[in-house]
């Protein structure tokens, strides 16, 4: 793939803080016009990777190219083509959101007239409130606006949905979709798969400074484990244990005595085998959680290790 087709490429990208490695050789290739997600637990290296793209951190080794340039030499001109939302957004000062956004518009340029009020309106952000008086969620909205306002070629968004209520999250995901239709590239991170699965074309799973897998969202979802909990009225705990124990992909099963009998477990893969096993029971309640990333990443990690060992 030629460099012009990629918004971001990294080859064997490494970063260590003192002697502590943060990135242990990351290979990424993010095609232009795509939405690329990176997920992983805290400390996996998501933020470090993003900060290197913005030249806030300098790599210890390997190569990185952003929009065809290296961040170090691209300088301010390159950063004007990028919109960035930090993972830990700090906004302070006795200025209104409007004034702060005007400042960023001045230094990064290219903001259409009417663009800022339009974005603020969509997210439900009051631009006339002083920044330090904004709630965490409203600060996050302001951060999203400053990243999107100059319609940059590349958006780098670190945990963009944190602190947003579900309606605003949905609006944000629509904005990401529009950016893609617009030909912009979006690189976003989350520690919760559910937050980015609707938006992302492909997802890299990062763990401990290494990429565990890169796949499309559907594949990842199929492999992800979720917490399930069922309450079965008038059931015999031993029968429940036997029936559920036979379900493929079900692990960590706990069955509590009582009426109803409550059984909890993690389930990887499809729901159907579990539902089939529950036929014949009186199901009082069934709770299925969103696929838990921590567990699914660990699951992937174990799976890779097992495959590696079997080879």
């Amino acid at each position: 793939m030629s460099p012009t087709d990629s918004a971001v490429t990294t080859v064997a990208l490494r970063k260590h803080y003192g002697r502590r490695p943060a990135l242990r050789g990351i290979d990424l290739d993010i095609p232009r016009g795509s939405v690329f997600g990176v997920i992983g637990p805290n400390g996996a290296g998501k933020t470090t990777t993003m900060r290197i793209l913005l030249d806030l951190l300098r790599p210890s080794g390997g190569e990185v190219r952003v929009l065809g340039e290296t961040p170090r030499t691209g300088g301010p001109a390159l950063r004007r083509r990028i919109g960035y939302l930090p993972g830990e957004l700090t906004l302070q000062g006795r200025v209104t959101g409007r004034s702060l956004l005007a400042h960023y518009a001045e230094i990064s340029g290219g903001v259409r007239a009417g663009r800022i009020p339009e974005l603020a309106e969509r997210l439900g952000l009051d631009l006339d409130v002083h920044v330090r008086k904004l709630s965490k969620g409203n600060k996050q909205k302001l951060g999203i606006v400053q990243a999107f306002q100059h319609e940059p070629e590349l958006l780098v968004l670190d945990e963009p949905t944190s602190g947003l209520d579900p309606l605003v999250q949905a609006e944000f995901l629509r904005m990401v979709g529009e950016a893609r239709e617009n030909g912009q590239t979006v690189f976003l991170s989350s520690h919760v798969l559910s937050e980015i699965q609707q938006a992302a074309d492909r997802v890299a799973v990062l763990r401990d400074g290494e990429i565990v897998s890169v796949s499309d969202v559907e594949t990842l979802r199929r492999r992800a484990a979720r917490r399930v909990s069922v309450a079965l009225r008038g059931a015999d705990p031993a029968r429940v244990t036997a029936a559920l124990g036979a379900v493929g992909g079900l692990q960590d099963l706990h069955v509590d005595d009582g009426d109803p009998v409550r059984a909890t477990a993690t389930l990887a893969g499809e729901m159907q085998p579990l539902l089939s096993a529950l036929t014949g029971f009186h199901v009082a309640d069934l709770i299925a959680g969103e696929p838990d990333l921590e567990e699914s990443v660990l699951g992937l990690y174990r799976a890779e290790a097992v495959q590696g060992g079997a080879r």
Binding site: R51, L56, P76, R79, R80, L89
Partner: protein, 264 residues
Amino acid sequence: MILPLTRRALADSWRSLLVWALGVAGAVSLYVPLYPSIGGNADMQALLDSLPPELIKTLNYEDIATGAGYVQSTFYGLLGFVLLVIMAAAWGTGAVAGDEEAGSLELTLAHGVGRVQLVLERALAILVKLLVITLVAGGLVLAYDAPAGLGLEVGDVAAMSASWLGLGVLCATAALALGALTGRRVWALTAGAGVAVVGYVLNALANQNADLDDLHAVSPYYWMVGASPLAEGWDGRGLALLWGISAALVAVAALALARRDLKS
């Protein structure tokens, strides 16, 4: 528009600048109008003569009987000096290290600004603010000149102001440079205030004893008031040291910040 970061820094801090200007104006007004009843007063002189000479030398009160000596000793060299050092060190710290530790520098640098540009523009904003403070102090001193019978020359007040501002700029740039080198507020603040405190102590020691006179040469405090600019006019050597080292520290700050990782 030019200098977006300088204008932003000034717009963000005009309230605190106003408070500091009022404080400095208060300090000038507290001492300077009292010259007829303290510095120029024979009883007061007798009292000062009765104090241990070491104390007088430490406080730089030797020339308190003249208008120029009085204003330099009480305001520019003492209370005004303390206020100047506090605000200069605080502003120099806030420009990089404070902003960085708070986490807000990251977003600014992710936009279309360079790190050298950021250091230079913020240093300029500090210079503008310190200049405002200096002009407020100098203007008020001149306003009190005739009523209090100080007998000052306008040119000498300008010379004193340039030296006083130079010391403030040195403290601010020392804080800026250490902040840019380390990214830590505590180091920046220590450097900014330390330059002034160490300078004051070295000067006081050198005043005590002719054997220690060489210490004057390395005291920024002495560079400011050692040649008594309020009485004697422009002190080229002191000004060159204060402003030259400040310029070098700004260069150090710009290069240091450009080379390192941003702390998170």
